[in-house]
Amino acid sequence: MSENEKITKDLIEYIEASIKGGLDEFEFTENFEEKLKNYLEGKIK
């Protein structure tokens, strides 16, 4: 599995878990952006 596939999988899992756990929209958006930011930083290192 490529790195991007792993990221995709990770994001989908995070979304599914968030929805199953009762979605808090604000918390989700914040964490989602944080995740994207982490992936981004990982890519430019």
Partner: protein
Amino acid sequence: MKAILNLTNIGQLVGPQKLEFNSGVVTLITGRTAAGKSRIIKSYALALSYPILSENLRNDGINFGILKSEDAEYLPLVNSSKESATIELSYNDVIKKVELLRGGKITTNDQGNQKFLYSSMLVKNSRIHNNITQGNAEFKWIVDEMSLAKDYEKTLSAINLQLNNLDAKKVEVKENRDIIAENEEEIKKQVEEKKQKTKELTTKQLEIDNYEFDDEATEKRDEIQKEIKGYKNDLKELKKEKLDADKELEYLKKKINAENQIPKIREELKEKNEKLDDLKTINVQSLQEEIIEKQNLRSKEAQGKVRFETTLELWKKVNIEEGNKCPLCQSVGKISKEERENKIEECNTNIKIFKDRIKDFSSSINQKQSRINEKKDFRETEDKVEELLTKVENIEREAAGAKDKLKPAEKRQETMDTQIKKNNTLIVNLEANLNKLKEEMTQEAEYQQRVNEKSEIQRKIGMIDEKSLKLKDNINKAQIVEILETGINLDVVDKIIEEFIEILSKVKNHLDLRIREQREGAAKKFNASIKNLIKELKFDTFKEIYLDMKNYRLTIIERNDDSQELSSVSGGEKAIISSLLQISAKETYLSDIPFLIGDEIILDLDPERSEIFLNYLKKIAKEKDWFIILTKMTSDDLKIVEI
């Protein structure tokens, strides 16, 4: 199963009210207007749905009269004379206690389910009923609310936001590249310009190095100019003094020359003295006596003259022919012509003698009077003599004084002339030196001009450097694109953006799929429930009622297989469809909460249909052990009966 509802200060109620309900049956709450029917079903609705977080459902809560609108002052459920109210609902092992403050605050000890508001409220102002009565076939909202599609939609919004941001970043990257290209082009121009200016600077420096001049010329010029100014001021003073000296000399000479008048004055003095001597000889008194004497004599002579003039007149009147009396002696006799002529002549001669004598006396009197008059000038002549003597004395004294001062004054004038001449010479010499210095200074001015030009070139080079730095700074800034607060270099940004778009697109596809699944799942369950209900109730008017799987619009198929638009369905049929959908929604989406609350919506149907629905409700109440509570308007007091 028993449900106990304890209300305090709810609606018109002041104080507590305890109500008991049994499951497995349909309970009817009857009563007249304001008997308290609606406060019971509103209390159930609030206790079983609160907290209500969805914006749409909050509006439903406001419409039901259980939540406060933003512009309302108080919670509608709290008694207007009380500051707070409570709702306590217990059934099975569940105990729900809701506390309401008049200002709007609501707290609950147990979370309800906000979906209760549209899936367990069999009422006329429910969202389903409103959709149907308004002829609005759009029911996508119910599959979204009844599934996780809405949550997936929210996550999809976050993905779409990021995808939009990435698209915007692609534009920004392109713009940044354009900025870099423009700035690099400008830097090249600046480099060329700097080369040109550096050449100019070298040339200018060579020009500056070739200049030779007395670099103290300006200082010297200033000194000479100051000196010239000093001499000119001195010269001004000297000329002023010289003018004074000239005036003094002229004055002195005038005084000395005044001596020339002295002989003439002495001549006049001599005349005046002689006159004075003559006047001294005049005896006024004697002369006046002589005048009186002469005047007397003249009077006698005048009388003599008159006498002869009278005689003459008489003689002139004597008639020679007839003889006349003698005019003198009055003797009558003949008087000859000759005699008369002689007498006339004799008279004229005597008259003439008298006239001459009178004339002599008058002349003598006049002479004497004239002498007396001359005597009157004596004082004046004396004063004149005095004045002339003083004048001569003054002239002689002033001339003597002037002669004493003449030589020093002449010396002073000579000194002034010499000094003025000397000053003029100095000024001429200094001005000659000044002209020489001006030549030097022209050189220095030209030199300074070159130095200024050099400074200007250096300033321009400085500006070029500054501009180049700014352009480089622009390039450096444009090299970095910020994504999610992380600066990314242009070298890698395209790849990263594309990768993220690919990742997010895949996630988006997944979510689209999940949303579709959720909606389809919810719609299928809803459709199945409606289908079963129609079958169960044996309604032969409609063959099929369902939500289509594409747009989730309500589709009505009549018994003859014709599709019918909701808007064209009759009011009675709409009421049936509304009841069908509301009961189906309850069975499909919220069957785990054993309460179905309703108003007269079913009871108001035609008796046959009303009976069918009521029987069905009784059946499911028993089968599912639900509390089904309906209200009905009567003219009596509040009553709660199981039917």
